[in-house]
Symmetry: C2
Subunit: 397 residues, 2 copies
């Protein structure tokens, strides 16, 4: 067969790093690689009785429903966002198949080939995968411990007249763990207004805050109806349910709802009914507090262990929430090579090599570490192995 695929598929390619990551799936490997939440915190018992009751309530939970999602769950999500300082109603919300679908639908809504998406540098790999089929160009915005730099965003948008979208993970970013400061949130909205671009706020880790005050969502600071906000139950309830949501101004949401219908008809009626019942019967915030206590301990342990054992030429970010810290090795060091040639074969330890998270110019000297799912002893042991083998490689260097 010689029929060519669509041109966009040239941007949809297997990646060497994804192949490498598969080696980390071996259960004998101590993996800091996955972006998974800790299954110890999934409310399995509660969900068991909820699924029983929801199925007993009638066959309609197994039937089709509205493409925008179950009305009651849309209301509950809107109430939750309103309590979080982002006032909205059920009509402002479309339920998606996890946060990832929100990225795909936003790309589909906004991006013509050659349009420019400005992103943090580095940025979330899954967003690049979702956007790539719409053939954008990327513009990387300088990012430090306070998140992306609005002054640099301003420059970047000035340089790129085809910029349409600013993609940001303002809370405990994937992969770096850093958050956008309050001042920069205001500045970012101001820059977006001046350049007339849409802001895609992707915030699956927002509730996983360990220290400091909650910062307002970009959606709540939006003055001109240009912020699309993505939320998810994956990190605060369970990813296997595949439920997230988009909140957006009406003219955008109407089109996003049509794109949702076209993409997969609707999210799972049963799972939406189960999450809705969970939110009625249980205190999700109390559940999140319990999970955060555990994640905070692991974060503390991770940073303390890295401080203690890692050679001083390696730095790490100090996240105040979320699942990740981001290691920066000396320039010239390649974390992909090191993992493939040394760390995996000799120590059975894995992380995600950082190059994969860069939208334009890949920097090979970083790694994303998740501390979320490993038991504490394994965490410390794995970090020790990482530090030991890196020190040996640096000495041999």
């Amino acid at each position: 067969m010689t029929t060519p695929f669509a041109r966009r598929t040239s941007r949809v390619q297997p990646s060497a790093i994804r192949e490498l990551l598969r080696l980390g799936d071996d259960p004998s490997v101590i993996s800091f690689g996955g972006g998974y939440p800790d299954p110890a915190h999934f409310p399995t018992a509660e969900l068991t009785s909820i699924f029983t009751d929801v199925l007993a309530s009638g066959a309609r939970t197994l039937q089709y429903t509205a493409s925008v999602g179950l009305p009651r769950l849309r209301e509950q999500i809107a109430a939750r966002m309103t309590r979080d300082g982002t006032p909205c109603t059920a009509d402002d919300v479309v339920i998606t198949h996890g946060g990832q679908q929100g990225l795909d639908l936003t790309g589909k809504l906004m991006i013509d080939p050659g349009d420019v998406i400005a992103t943090e540098n580095p940025t979330f790999l899954g967003a690049l995968l979702a956007f790539n089929p719409y053939e954008p160009d990327y513009a990387a915005v300088r990012t430090d411990d306070d998140g992306l730099d609005p002054a640099h965003l301003d420059e970047v948008l000035t340089r790129h007249p085809r910029a349409k979208l600013v993609y940001t993970v303002p809370d405990f970013q994937n992969p770096t763990g850093v958050s956008l400061s309050l001042e920069r949130r205001h500045q970012l909205i101001d820059v977006a207004n001046r350049h007339d671009v849409v802001v895609l706020e992707d915030s699956p880790y927002r509730d996983l805050r360990f220290d400091g005050d909650r910062l307002p969502t970009l959606a709540s600071l939006d003055t001109e109806g240009r912020v699309i906000h993505l939320g998810s139950f994956s990190k605060i309830l369970a990813p296997g349910l595949r439920l997230g949501w988009m909140m957006a101004p009406g003219p955008l949401l109407d089109r996003l709802a049509l794109l949702k219908l076209a993409a997969d008809t609707q999210s799972s009626t049963l799972n939406m009914a189960a999450v809705s019942t969970y939110l009625e019967r249980h205190d999700l915030d109390a559940q999140i507090v319990r999970a955060n206590a555990s994640y905070r301990r692991k974060r503390d342990l991770t940073l303390a262990t890295l401080d203690r054992l890692m050679p001083a030429d390696v730095t790490c970010t100090r996240p105040r929430g979320g699942l990740f810290t981001w290691l920066t090795f000396p320039e010239g060091f390649d974390t992909g090579d090191f993992m493939r040639d040394t760390l995996l074969p000799r120590a059975r330890v894995a992380y995600v090599p950082g190059a994969t998270f860069f939208p334009t110019r890949q920097e090979p000297n970083h790694a994303r570490l998740s501390y979320a799912t490993l038991p504490e002893e394994t965490l410390v042991h794995g970090l020790g192995l990482l530090a030991h083998h890196y020190a040996a490689a640096a000495r041999a260097g």
Copy 2:
């Protein structure tokens, strides 16, 4: 905000007919409109105990899993397809979020703006919605009681050098209920081979056969690796689970798997585990036999009632399976106007006006009727109202 949407969104528009259909959601309306299976056949009790057991088996059913789907369920689907005469293995299958997602991903894989998709005339509305954002042109292929006409397909493909895809629902088509004959299946593959196009075989109703012999899938007749087959659990188990699958030759499936990952990470782990357990513990085919007995009675009742009551200038298809029959009224009659002005307000009866199913030139004198979900008495009563009001309109006409 003035930032323009992507050009493709000009093809993503609210539709007057969808607005009209919403009126049919009123529970006081006798609706032949939905494409829903009868919830009386959902195995609710079995699924209740399965969800309990699956959740009890460990938190991993709430965790992320492989983007191509749960390995065991992929095996079971492949075994099911193999028993159905389409030999394949788990590696040939990607699990999707219902059949609809298979349409979206195929459009994404194949269609550049201006590429031509040849479809039955009329064709499935959901497919047009899924394809439209990829900006295809459509070519309508003559379709009769034996399905699409391969000789006309040959002509159409000759006329359209940019034809890339033939989209067909060969079994109990939506909206007409007709099936592609055995001879034409062979001819269609032959025509596709000669014109070097991909065939998208969408077959969610395949197992809902009431009479006659099963016909081979187009995938099983594929000689050159150019058929993508879509299946779904929506019509044979429960649509609210949102699970379907794509089977495709390796070079296509590899890309489709990457597109699935980019679109929504994966389907619901929990729902995949539940369906897998259902297939292990229960006889899905026996369940389908029971559902078909009921659907067959309703089909018989529908056709007999139409034969008895409908004026002779209205014809209907005589489906051997599936959920639909297709009414053709005299030329010049507009089923949309009739429904809006007469049938809904006076009789509280709804169907889907047929115009919406035509890819190129909308014909207003058809209607799609589903007999699947109405109780038998209501079915007969509703058809009586339809016939009565049509006869009155025709006399007044």
